[in-house]
Amino acid sequence: MTTDSVPASGDPRRLLAEARDLARRVRLAQRVTWLPLLVLALVTFGAIPVYRFGHRVVSDCHVVADGQVCKVEFQAVGFYWLVAMVVAYVVIAGGYLRVARTRGVGARVWPYVLTGVALVVLFSAVPPAWIFRDPTVYTNHPSAFSLFLTRLLNPAGLIGLALLVLAWLERHVALLLYTLGYLAAVLVPINFGWGAGWGGRWGDAPPLVISGGLLLLGSAGFALAQRLRRSR
């Protein structure tokens, strides 16, 4: 501890470098990256039984060359995502505020939380079926762009979009790279063919297991990295 201040002036390069280092240390103190990833992983895994056992409304069936295509509405699923995601973002905001207060700094999580909630509410109110007015998107072979957009507007894609905001807020390059990898896995999708043959009521489980698993792994990785950094 010093008892007096350093001289008023200094090498401007050194002053700037010190200011940047102090700002970097504050950003590190504000990070609780494992928390949103863990909470969102739990929400994603929680969706699996809702898809499996939730009520479905089947309508507008058309006969096509190799069978029939029907419109299926997952009312319980839509309700689950809306409620679970809003609760998840409230939990994340509360966790960030609590941790930041304990560490003696303010939190910068609000833009992330508001973006996440806004995306979920918006795309719960405006489902992809409204965006793709042309029903042939579903009945024939959809274009790569249609599939990409549909996956992006799904809850797993929206989680990734909101995480991009968090990476920007925290100036967190590792989180940015992780999120890009997560989005690639969700949007391409990267599943190595796993679950392709799972039809019927378990058909939605594989992508949820993959996206939830990625979030859980990310949470564990960031928690471990944070623990290692603090122990140094």
């Binding site: 010093t2 008892t3 201040s5 350093v6 700002a23 504000q30």
Partner: protein, 118 residues
Amino acid sequence: MTGPADTPPPDETESPHPVTGLDDVVHQRVRLGILTIAHEARRVEFGYLRTQLELTAGNLSQHIGVLEAAGLVQVEKGYAGKRGRTWITLTAAGNAALAEEIARLKLLITRVETASGQ
């Protein structure tokens, strides 16, 4: 040291040197550190500042007092459980002063590098 032969180049006579615009309240290593942390943290606790800047409580209080008197920070006292806590927040004037100081420091570095390159 200076004389007629040392007349500065025309571009330096047109705009004042960045050093002339430096604010003594802000251009001080510890106070610049307080402003930087408060800007980045939105709101910062006294204890965090003390640890990061490696100062005694008395010394830090003096610097915060100077910044508060200049209207650059706002000090708020409260409690976390039974423990007293002091939180420091940057004011709009503090935000502007910090941005100006950083800009002047960058300009100063550019000037020095340009001059040493000639």
